[in-house]
């Protein structure tokens, strides 16, 4: 036996036809975003696993690589992203409380911080290009770990020198490395560096696009206590991208970082 469900006579203009109620729409949408983020975890996870395998295999070279990237800029970026997650969370709060102007400003702030992150990343990439640390020989001036090709920047070779003698620096796990070996293995470190930060940056760019779209809609007053699902979904995505960076930063910049790095 089938009976019909009573349909409400009025429904919110944002209610999609496949859903019965705003509540169902909001629950389904956020659940869907969580599932999507799970797939992203699997993708980044595959990449991180490969990175960790090589880190164990080529430990000294990866130490040299980690030491040669700027922990100051990386830390700055971390702060920038955490701040942007804060402004994003506040945006959701503002939407929940119907504050249109606040939403718009906070979204703008999030976007500015996101753009700042990308700007710093661009500077870091430029530095790597300048130092001839871009792997492969297709982009840039070719990988050159030993001599480096920028007079002012420390080369991997110098770092390799410093970690050559394990007794002097108290690290019993580091065996001696020759310059040639450092070069090849560190090239792999930078392959992962660019793949991981590149994939992350790509997601940031998409995130900025999403925020821009949300900004336009927020400006027109679309979001309020009755309907703020898109902002919530945007928030989830943005927080995820932040969390990926929280993993990236220690994995790439911090672990086993040699004290005399830049």
């Amino acid at each position: 036996m089938s009976t019909s469900q009573t349909t409400t006579t009025e429904h919110h203009p944002a209610l999609a036809h496949q859903f019965d109620s705003m509540e169902q729409q909001q629950e389904a949408s956020t659940f869907g975003m969580w599932v999507f983020l799970l797939t992203e975890i699997m993708m980044f996870g595959g990449l991180f696993t490969a990175y960790l395998i090589y880190r164990l295999k080529y430990y000294p070279a990866f130490v040299a690589g980690s030491t040669s990237i700027s922990v100051s800029w990386g830390f700055a970026n971390t702060l920038v992203l955490i701040a942007s997650s804060f402004t994003m969370a506040m945006t959701v709060w503002a939407a929940q409380n119907g504050r249109r102007k606040t939403q718009v400003w906070l979204l703008l702030a999030t976007m500015v911080l996101g753009a700042a992150f990308l700007g710093v990343k661009a500077k870091e990439y430029y530095d790597k290009w300048d130092e001839c640390h871009i792997p492969g020989h297709v982009i840039g001036k070719g990988f050159n770990a030993w001599g480096g090709c920028s007079a002012t920047n420390k080369s991997l070779g110098n770092i390799a020198e410093e970690i050559r003698d394990p007794k002097e620096h108290g690290n019993p796990n580091v065996t001696e490395v020759s310059a040639e070996q450092t070069a090849k293995q560190t090239e792999i470190f930078f392959s992962f560096y660019f793949a991981m930060t590149g994939l992350h940056a790509f997601h940031m760019v998409i995130g900025l696009g999403l925020l821009a779209w949300l900004l336009i809609r927020a400006k027109s007053g679309e979001f309020g206590p009755a309907y703020y699902t898109p902002i919530e979904l945007g928030g989830l995505y943005w927080h995820f991208v932040d969390i990926v960076w929280i993993f990236l930063f220690p994995l790439l910049y911090l672990i086993s970082r040699h004290q005399h790095g830049v």
Binding site: T3, S4, Q18, A28, F31, G32, L47, A50, I188, S191
Partner: protein, 545 residues
Amino acid sequence: MSTATAIVKPVMPEKHFLNDNYGIRSWLLTKDHKRIAILYLFSISFFFLLGGMFAVLIRLHLLTPNGELFEADTYNKLFTMHGVNMVFFFLIPSVPAVLGNFLVPIMVGTKDLAFPKINLLSWYLYIAGGTFSMAAMVSGGVDSGWTFYAPLSSGYLKTHVIMLAVGVIIAGFSSIFTGLNFIVTVHRMRAPGMTWGRLPLFIWSNYAASLIMILGTPVIAITLILLALERGFHIGIFDPKLGGDPVLFQHMFWFYSHPAVYIMILPGMGVISEIVPCFSRKRVFGYSFVAFSSVAIAVFGFVVWAHHMFVAGISVYSALVFSLLSYAVAIPSAVKVFNWTATMYKGSIEMSTPMLYAMGFIGLFTIGGLTGLFLAALGLDIHVHDTYFVIAHFHYVMVGGMVTAYLGGLHFWWPKITGRMYPEAPAKLAALITFIGFNLTFFPQFILGYLGMPRRYWAYPPEFQVLNVLSTAGASVLAVGFLLPALYFAWSLKYGEVAGDNPWQATGLEWETSSPPPTHNFHQIPIVTKDPYAYGEDAEVTVVN
């Protein structure tokens, strides 16, 4: 069973999802899951035809042992394109994207999937991926094998590997979004009264397959991205000359590609779980066991990937663990086969075309699955790995299993989708021809494999010729068996008997709405009160117009 005594000739409903809106835009910009399913039906059939053409060329070439029909490079491209098209553009999407898209919302009792626009995006991603694959084909073809092993693919081949890999990556995202949609729909959009324990087993199977889709597919995406980066920028990730590890590629590749085969077979098993009870007029024997077996297969499927790598240079201890787990994953499939058989016991059986396909599935999948046990046995796998034995095994489960189930499902739900019956006699003939052609094609390959003929061989020692000729002969029969349905399905659209809401007198919410269904699936959302497969004298299948 209908309680009416007079048989009323069914008529096509006035308005339904096919005639609701006309014009190309109403199809290409549709949000209706049923129309998207039809879009997929056409595109998947195209890629099946393409992959099938490559198969025909391969089998023709293998008629003679000395590689006389094609050059070696061409042959290598043929089996690569056959594998890529069949695996990524036919097998993975087929049942979920065609039958699943059509049926999942209706079976759970709702108006559409959770995210109709993302569903349409899925189809466009599939087309985009397919376009890259075709582009790779027309720009000379790729000869990496569908497995893209490094360092061959990343450092030695001269063909457009990256173009093909990009096509596969994009198609992978199509798969991820389909799975995501199914999961959210099943969790959040079931009709009132539709508890998890009342869901049709087709839903359970597609749900389990969707879990694999969302968890496994991203890994192949990142693996192929890394392969493409290595090839494009000459960095070392998998190439030992550049410091990389080729076995790492295999681990990452198979981490997805093994669960992928369960993405392929689980929805097919779901189809069988719908057909067998209907044509036995009996509830499924051991419903909960079948339901949980689907989930068990999905879970176990993730921990057996290195059984593709027993001779690849992994440690003995690794190999022991993966062999043991591979036997574990076989058990839930066996449980399903026994349950289907028990469903037929003391039933009232009609040998309709869908039932013929279902019975074929049960027999052929059993053989295919059992030959998997040969491959899981370490000492034996050393001998048969990378031989025609493996090819025979996976064609038995994929073609004898999956494609058979897909065809059975198409025949079972054709009346629901189109409102028309297909002609029964040609359909039964096609089923029989397919069954005979299939066995003739692939059974000799078990023997070829054990005798030692390796895979992917352009030329082979002459003593293998007889079996190869037998196999090609079977393939010509099989081709006929596959082409016939295309013909009579097309015929039925105009001349087929009008089906009515429930020509099979089956249970399930899809049979409670018109054939074809209205755009919003139901005129009134049903409230579910009965168990699934409530066949038998106490059950009533009411037909609501």
